[in-house]
């Protein structure tokens, strides 16, 4: 199931709707990269609220998206990691330290707008 990616000003918002297969995750990575380039986006939010499992593959792939977009000058924020999922990620031993996270979409947008500086963010 493809993940819809919306453009909002200088940012992209990818809202994951349901459980992702590995193929879906790789598709998301490719889609984000091509859209960042097309829209010259400066920030990306990946909303994972709907994910009930973030195993090592998904975590590694999201981290990969964050690293890749950063190399293109765009910052990625992962939002909506559920409490149980966060617990499982820590138990699993996932290192997510170099990835920006925020509680939800609203907080994630504030984080990105803060980076843009006053008067320069998305309306």
């Amino acid at each position: 199931m493809a993940v819809p990616i919306l453009k909002q000003g200088p940012f992209l918002i990818a809202s994951i709707q349901a459980a992702l297969t590995d193929t879906d995750v790789l598709q998301l990575r490719d889609d984000v990269m091509s859209q960042v380039t097309r829209h010259r986006s400066r920030g990306i939010i990946v909303d994972v609220t709907a994910l009930d499992v973030m195993d090592s593959f998904v975590s590694r792939s999201l981290r990969g998206i964050a690293m890749m977009t950063r190399l293109r000058g765009a910052e990625t924020v992962i939002v909506g990691i559920q409490p149980e999922v966060a617990f499982a990620m820590v138990q699993l031993g996932m290192n997510f330290e170099d990835v920006q996270t925020a509680l939800d979409l609203e907080e994630g947008l504030l984080l990105l707008q803060g980076r843009e500086g006053p008067g320069d963010g998305a309306a």
Binding site: A19, L20, V53, E84, G93, M94
Partner: protein
């Protein structure tokens, strides 16, 4: 649909089957006194061991069943098995960060940390069987 206490078998042949296996386990666990957190830990562990099947053995199966100990405590047992190439050095495969498949090397050691019981049997060209058990916390 088999009855809740019966064994469920999920053939693992694609990444979509990995998702099915963990969703079935969650449904099964929801019928027991497994907390939502424990269900998530179990589902994550299943995702790791089922992915190992698609990565290393191409195909295999996941068997889910409800188990009870002498004290009447209930849990979910997961058997993930394949007839793939097997693991040459199990101790090494259980170390964090060791991988022969291009991943992070968190699959087996991570799955072990997420469940209450963990057992692995494997030998080169004999395939691999991983058994996990997650117990409910109430008796």
């Amino acid at each position: 649909m088999p009855p809740d206490t019966g064994e469920q078998r999920i053939a693992i042949e694609s990444d979509a089957d990995v998702v099915t296996a963990r969703q079935r386990a969650r449904e099964l666990a929801a019928g027991l006194e497994l907390t939502s957190t424990d269900q998530t830990l179990l589902a994550t562990a299943i995702s790791e061991v089922a992915r190992n099947i698609t990565t290393y053995a191409t195909r295999g199966e996941v068997l889910l069943s409800i188990v009870r100990d002498n004290g009447g405590r209930e849990g979910i047992r997961v058997i993930a098995r394949d007839q793939g190439p097997g693991i040459e050095d199990i101790d090494r495969a259980l170390q964090d960060g060791y991988t022969s498949g291009g991943g992070l090397g968190l699959g087996l050691p991570g799955a072990r940390r997420l469940v209450d019981e963990f057992d692995i049997e494997s030998a080169p060209s004999q395939g691999t069987t991983v058994t996990l058990v997650k117990w409910s916390r109430v008796r």
